[in-house]
Symmetry: C2
Subunit: 229 residues, 2 copies
């Protein structure tokens, strides 16, 4: 967590967020009012934050990773707009997004141009996602896959693997990181494009697909930037 995020929590009188994330930061809370909500209640959560802030509360809305990367920042601004409160003071505090945390655990796979793609088709048509994977693969981008698999959505990662194999070698290294840097549950493995889907992958995992230059160096996954050694 950044120092600024910690300060902002201390300055708030109310802390709102998805209950799993609220639980992660409970040790940092004192007497703040807590408004914890369930999964997939993002709009309701933001409307409540806007309502409380409109009443004069200083509210910290907690988001995992970076609030600005597949997080709560966008929907909060949309809710401010809906309530005609865009002039209200708002500070967006960036954080360590899953791709960056996973990369640090794996070594340095994101040293060159990369694309971040979420495989969640709840809000995005599957054909848009698939098209992006095709184009990112064609462009030799390193690819960070967010939300690679869920309990209800298990087939897509296999389809993505087939697409990537049209552009990249079967031995292309792939890193899978679960709960990156989030403590004892954190785990990472390096596999290949041929076999990575045999590993445990879920909504707490981030998958990083190497590009044509990515290689294993000892325990690390590295995409060289091109320095001559």
């Amino acid at each position: 967590m950044t120092e600024r995020a910690k300060e902002a929590l201390a300055e708030a009188d109310t802390v709102a967020g998805y209950k799993t994330y609220i639980d992660l930061i409970r040790p940092l809370l004192r007497e703040q009012t807590v408004a914890a909500t369930g999964m997939r209640q993002e709009v309701e959560r933001c409307r409540e934050v806007v309502r409380l802030a409109g009443k004069g509360h200083r509210v910290a809305l907690v988001s995992s990773g970076d609030a600005g990367i597949y997080g709560m920042a966008g929907i909060l601004i949309e809710c401010l707009s809906e309530a005609d409160l865009l002039a209200m003071p708002l500070e967006i505090i960036p954080g360590i997004t899953a791709a960056n945390a996973a990369a640090a655990v794996l070594g340095a796979p994101l040293m060159h141009d990369f694309a971040a793609i979420s495989l969640s088709d709840l809000l995005t048509p599957w054909d848009v996602i698939l098209r992006r994977v095709h184009l990112a693969a064609e462009g030799d981008f390193v690819i960070a896959l967010y939300n690679p698999k869920s309990a209800a959505r298990t087939e897509q990662i296999g389809v993505i693997r087939e697409v990537l194999l049209q552009y990249r070698a079967a031995e292309t290294p792939v890193g899978i990181v679960r709960e990156a840097l989030r403590g004892p549950g954190s785990a990472a493995v390096i596999r290949t494009l041929a076999n990575f889907t045999q590993e445990k992958i879920d909504m707490l995992s981030t998958v990083i697909i190497g590009n044509s230059q990515t290689r294993r160096l000892g325990p690390y996954l590295v995409t060289p930037r091109g320095y001559s050694l």
Copy 2:
């Protein structure tokens, strides 16, 4: 800065890095030995870090933004490999990369799939960069441009603009952030694909090109993720 980065600096007996970045963290240093080096001396800097660590020093190598995103993590691992010291203890501490910091200043432009592309052609052929811009534009990725312009490299950003205009509307919003969140020098503007190259852009700037969904909401740049309000 994250708490872990601050702790790691305190734990080190030696701090190495590009002198401009060392100056930014001097207030955090006590009696650590400082090994500051000039720009474009990345390989020499890492070899020195490896040499010092090999002698038993605990060395913190400072990188701006996130060491794992166009930073020092990759070349350091390559230098460890060169010295046959890949088994040496190494902790890579992720940070707030320029795209994330710039996004937080602008609002929430990276709420959906995005591509990070560096326009620096020092280590990457220009045709590879251009091809990636074409494919990212075709895939409707939000695009974060690192190293958009330097004193010696002033023409490329105009070429990139022409490429993007083949795929995106002239009124597509573009955010330009200088020294994102780095204190008093920090500045941000929102322009359009048609006119953004008229602004001051340099190596301390990050440029975020909206996708087909990105819009201005009051003072903010937002790429909606698709929630129904």
